[in-house]
Amino acid sequence: MILLSLSYSKQYHLRELFYSFFKSLVGKDVVVELKNDLSICGTLHSVDQYLNIKLTDISVTDPEKYPHMLSVKNCFIRGSVVRYVQLPADEVDTQLLQDAARKEAMQQKQ
């Protein structure tokens, strides 16, 4: 966590902050809710500068309503269509993240 706080404070851009944040969550199980209301659960494999997300071993949260992805095991999600990324609460230090984000927002204003 100490390493994370160092990297958070070195970011020059708010976007970089969340990119680093997601990089620290690689390997964790997340649920991505998309802007078309589809929710996909999977293991975070990788993320990029646009916050595009690659998930492995996916399952749709409501497979009866959305059987469209039944034969898909891994997927790439374009960052612009993500509405929420649901994270395990014990993997995130919300206080740290909040402070880092606030700092970045202040720096961005100036």
Partner: protein, 129 residues
């Protein structure tokens, strides 16, 4: 260049030499996205969910950093709550990156085991920003 492009709202039809076009587009600058595709062992069968809620299945032949895609042998899977899945053959398509929501890697075994005629589902929603 010998390419004649006809633009439609959702994709681009090309009448040029497919292989030539694929070679040009394969100079991928987005390393992450390239890693995704290499992991997938191009060519692989993919399912694309578009921003207007359509699902297109095809062989991913090329891409670039803005996620423009070249899909060969593509067909659209139309889901309906009243009848089974309808597959509309499309052929060689270029899909502009703006309209791509999800790219899924299709597991051919699972896919051939699917009984598409018996699947009833509402079509996916459009992406609302």
């Amino acid at each position: 260049m010998g390419v004649r492009l006809v633009l439609t709202t959702h994709g681009v039809h090309t009448s040029c030499n497919a292989l030539k076009l694929i070679a040009v587009v394969n100079e991928c600058q987005n390393t992450f996205f390239r890693a995704f595709c290499l992991n997938m062992r191009l060519p692989g069968t993919v399912a694309i969910v578009t921003s207007d809620g359509r699902m297109i299945v095809g062989t991913l032949k090329g891409f670039d950093q803005t996620i423009n895609l070249i899909l060969d042998e593509s067909h659209e899977r139309v889901f309906s709550s009243t009848q089974g899945v309808e597959q509309v053959v499309l052929g060689l398509y270029i899909v502009r990156g703006d309209n791509v929501a999800v790219i899924g890697e299709i597991d051919d075994e699972t896919d051939s085991a699917l009984d598409l005629g018996n699947i009833r589902a509402e079509p996916l929603n459009s992406v609302v920003h």
